[in-house]
Amino acid sequence: MDNFMKINFDTQTLEINPSGDNYVASMDGKTVSVQIIRAEYGRMDLLIDGKRVTAYVSSDMAKRWVTINGHTLMLTKTSGAKQGVRHEHAGGLIAPMPGQVRSVSVSVGDIVKKGQTLLTMEAMKMEIRIQALKDGKVKSVFAAQGQTVEREQILIEMEE
């Protein structure tokens, strides 16, 4: 089993074994044969269990974008160890979309009320208000006015 390959995407594990010129893929006890008919320009024509499948695949770091039959999936290649732990920032308020911070209304140590606007962001035609989810005290502020932030970047952390 020299070329045995185990790949994890998100919470799923796929095994691929070479078999002659082709491959055998297994997941959750299900096994299918796979033949690569053609692969170029980020497009693959595969024969999966005798059925021809055309897949467009792109890679960007751990991300894989796959389009089959017009449906696109974004998969994240993982180590396969712990799953579902991403972005567990207790009390953290994250940016729901990429954009620019328009104003920050609080400082570290401020006492805030549930629903109070802590920060406003701007992106394209929209203004987004980041509001306190409950009464509490601001622990850290990670964003400043004018700063560009990515989606899911932590903006403000609250004390628990």
Binding site: F9, N22, M44, V53, Y56, D60, N69, H71, M97
Partner: protein, 504 residues
Amino acid sequence: MFNKILIANRGEIAIRIMRACRELGIKTVAVYSSADEHAQHVQLADESILLGSAAPKESYLNADALIQAALASKADAIHPGYGFLSENASFALKVESANLTFIGPSADSIRAMGDKAEAKILMKQSGVPTVPGFEGLESDDDFKKAAKEIGYPVLVKASAGGGGKGMRVVNAENELSEAIESARSEALNSFGDERLLIEKYLADAHHIEFQVFGDKHGNLVHLFERECSIQRRHQKIIEETPSPLLTPELREQMGQAAVAAAKAVNYYNAGTIEFIVDSQPSTFNLQPFYFLEVNTRLQVEHPITELTAGIDLVQWQIRIAAGEKFPFVQSDFHQHGHAIECRVYAEDPSNGFLPSTGSLLQFIEPHGPGIRVDSGFSTGSEVNHFYDPLLAKLIVHAENRETAIQRMQTALSEFVVHGVVTNIDFMQAVMAHEDFAQGKVSTRWVEQTLRSLLPDVQQQADQLQSLIAAALADVVFVGSKSQPAVSNETDPFNPWKQTKSYRN
């Protein structure tokens, strides 16, 4: 005719305008912000001028920089596209003051239609049906009396407004005072003008607009309707023409109303009269349609009119601006076939339709008979958060609505975008929905139906196929990289031959 036009816009609409210029033999000047240095519209223009930094107000909204660029490049005219400064009367005036031509209506027309209350009063005077309501009220008592007369639910909205700001739906009298207060405050903050108007709230309405087009010599026609009821966040995502809701009689009436509305402000160039159409007009014994507002510019969704009315709107915008007479009369126009537009956005329907940014790893547009793609991106383009996340407009034209839907479904399934999340699967779900097939879609439909439109967990077979493809891609393409597959090519020094066909 003009020798050179500066296009004060970016993305697909800048490119669309460039094509029209090129066909007319007119040189083009692109403008760009520092974020758009490598954008497609910059590459396609004859020349290009940097306006400023990425923030719109430093670049595409910077009126003085735009006029300066036009003068420096010796352009004769400025085409504003849509959005940005396209409906800014003072920009239009500034352009004309610099002895340049503004490709659009007069500054007076733009200004007259910018104030909702003023526009509504003007429409009433011109005999165009408007939503029952009152303008110019001040005291809470006056508003209460008015609301009672109209009948709840009612809508209070900013007179000077737009874009949903200073707008409140009021379902009963006890909510009215608070709604007025908050709407006033928002209106004052947004527009520096706290005046409100009150009108009947039409919940299950359709948004149907009419294209109008006229010259500076008094000729003005309408080019039929566009059904634009499929909206999210009060923005259109799918448009079609003809509207499945309109009867020939209603179309005739609305077309006449649209022409009357445009003539009321001596309109010329391309414009759109938006109407709200009640799908149950009998309920309140109301008119079947009401004037909503005028868009004094080229509309995003203009291609579906071009396809069905058989006229190039952008070419004619330019010709009219240059003073040409519009040679057609109303009876020259008929609707041919059916056209649908889907706006392909870099946005995530599962995440409240919020935009998605990134680098486009693959961007494959569908092509085929009856398919038109107006796009501003290609593989390698960056989608940033500074501007509207519209990637492309996918437009189909076919002999009837059923065939057009089939064509759109095929085309959507062939549109591959990797690197940003898009609404393609979402629009595919809309196309396949029975409500859409039956044309029963009001402006609140997406909101009400959203759950069933979000992508299902894919069938296990499909899911497995995707995983296999992703896994094998790493093997195949990385493998071919370490061993470049150019050895059997005619010229190993040809650097833009890509990874060759891989075969077992």
